[in-house]
Amino acid sequence: MFDIQYDADGKVVCTGRLDAAQCAKGQAFMDEIAESSTLDFAQLEYISSAGLGILLKTQKRLAESGAALKIINVNNHIYDVFHYSGFHAIFDIKAK
């Protein structure tokens, strides 16, 4: 199960497992983001390359207007995946 929604502070809260089957839901939400935003991964347990693709696509689109995604509360397993993928150099990432 994967869920994505805004919290009361305007952060984008991701919950559950972002696998290839959940990409359409994640992409549809991210496509609506038009300004710099913070993604809270405190409740995100898992991400695969399909989810990484969504993040990269969104970051590239936002960069065209000088905006960017920031990702906070990343668990150590997802943090390792970001590191392997080189995402730590193209995203502002904060571990849990």
Partner: protein, 133 residues
């Protein structure tokens, strides 16, 4: 334990639950479980994506002994050797990066061993991961 899964990304939840039950029963540590789930999903999704004309199920076997061993087998598939080194420039700038290509790269980096066998349309991938027990 072995089970056949329908060739669809809709199988991913059942695939996760199948593997997780075995890994949990085998007391596999969290970090290894995460890596096994990730490699398993990437391999399964590749089989679904790159053999769209193949209708048969994908057989998945997961065992935990001194290490976790996962075997995925499909039939009537084109050859796709996932052990061929995948070069991804992880130092590329945002402008240079393009979505895609990370799946095989992650598989090759997160598994301890990775083997591919192909014969008469039978495509089989076997990977292992230390269980951390």
């Amino acid at each position: 334990m072995k089970r056949a899964f329908a060739r669809s990304n809709d199988s991913l939840t059942a695939l996760y639950e199948f593997a997780e039950d075995i890994l949990e029963a085998g007391d596999v540590v969290d970090a290894a479980r995460f890596a096994v789930h990730l490699a398993l999903e990437e391999l399964f999704v590749n089989m679904v994506k790159y053999n769209p004309d193949t209708k048969g199920d994908i057989d998945v076997e997961v065992t935990v002994e001194d290490k976790v061993t996962v075997t995925l087998t499909e039939y009537g598939a084109a050859e796709f050797d996932v052990t061929v080194p995948k070069n991804v420039d992880t130092n590329a700038s945002l402008e240079e990066r393009t979505p895609g290509g990370l799946g095989v790269y992650l598989i090759q980096n997160l598994t301890d061993s990775l083997d591919y066998q192909y014969s008469d349309g039978r495509s089989r991938v076997i990977f292992t991961k230390e269980s951390g027990i």
